[in-house]
């Protein structure tokens, strides 16, 4: 995935109905691009057998009251 620009982040936030205040846009853009760097690199790791699932016990108890 390529680098997100501040304009793109602004548009995404507006579409999600989330406010950006003074100083937010630059930092959120840096944070999102840091995620893109690290998580994008996961494509190089073989995760084919890694089934996403929560770390929950296999035998949940009865439904909560």
């Amino acid at each position: 995935m390529t680098e997100l620009t501040p304009d793109q982040v602004q548009a995404l936030a507006a579409a999600a109905g989330l406010p950006l205040h003074d100083g937010d846009l630059a930092e959120v853009t840096h944070r999102l691009n840091a995620f893109v760097d690290v998580l994008g690199a996961l494509a190089a790791i073989d995760l084919a057998a890694a089934e996403p699932a929560p770390a929950a016990p296999p035998d949940p108890g009865p439904a909560p009251r």
Binding site: A13, L39, A41, I45, A55, A56
Partner: protein, 472 residues
Amino acid sequence: MTADLAYRTATDLAGLIRARTVSPVEVVQAYLARIDRWDGTLRAYVTVCRERALDEARAAEQALGHGAPVGPLHGVPFAVKDQFDTAGIRTTSGSRLHADRVPAEDATVVARLRAAGGILLGKLNLTEFALGGTLTYPFGQPRNPWDQTRETGGSSSGSGIAAAAALAAATLGEDTGGSVRSPASWCGAVGLRPTWGLVPRAGCVPVAWSMDAPGPLTRSVEDAALLLSIIAGPDGRDRWLQPARTDPRADLERGAGGLSIGVVTALVNSPDTDAEVRGAVRAAAETLRGLGGRVEDVDLPLLPIAGAVFMALADGEAAAWHHPTLAARGADYDPGTRRRLVTAALLPATLAQQAARARAAIRAQVWDALARYDVLLAPTGPTAAPPIAAAQAPIVSRAEAGRRFFNRRSYTTPASLAGVPALSLPCGFTVGGLPIGLQLIGRRFDEATLLRAARAYERATDWRARRPPLPG
């Protein structure tokens, strides 16, 4: 005299109170005196329940006089992170948004500590909504008792301070990605993250449902085991809870002989790990070897990405919980919290799914290692407590964002992603006098072995005897 009494462990105090060597009133007064003396600076507490605690102490004293049966914490003052609901006492979650929120009932864990005879001394400071990165704390900047210009670690900041500085006999925090272990490490306390699914979350304001784990911060391993024995087990309100399979105190004094211990080289040898931290952790491994443990290096190559994987997943869960409030009252959040939540809310779904798959792979590595070793050993964090000012500087690049937010979290989040228990305890001090934390990671629902290893190390060293430089 007040300090000597206050620095006693909760286990010691419970014994002294039961034997009527000290009175609960005397003990509560000792902690209130220390809070009066130090909390204006350290800011461990959001709310101090002064009169209520004294009333309960007098009642506890009367109960002893009448020979009534008493619980294991009878008359012992404890304090809890202000993320746990307390009936009739405001629960702020460290946020202006909840500044006036007063729950109607206690969180399960609070109710259990009170039912065991404990006296609630107050509610403890935290990063906003138990997310890290708060820039301006509405209830005061928490300060490290060893150096007040330094961070305390979070999110259970006040719990770490109060445990280390003897502002309570024992405390409770909540650990999603290291929120018990990090403040324990930086403040010089013992912090236990239990197995996910062992301790009830009812009445705990959530961070990330799939990783939240309430746990104790204390001045001894024995106290951590005692508190866990009280708070663990199903409460009928959380379907994922399972009963403890053993008493966490069962093997506490068995020593380290025969334990197999894997040293996590990906974290110990990481270039992010300070040399002093690496040296202290390697020395701790040698101490455990000297006690009869079989110590070997273990390679878990995915762990360095755990911090980013954790933030993609846990922050996404948090963003979902906060979304309506964030959309309506975004300006009322601290900017650090708001930026973190907005980032998570905007993360592309494909990347979040990649993170979920990476979590499964990290969990498999941790579980496979724990099939070969009784416990894993690593630093709790790459450094001792950094300056407060460093965390408040603006983020000016994506590389810096990665360094600031992902790297250090890779030390504590593997246990969170894998759902296994982990504990931090002091294993040395920097030349500047700051505590260094040793992290031990155990098998699911095998807190007894984890605590056994920790207790063996604690007993063989004298780090616990050091006190922060707080005269009086």
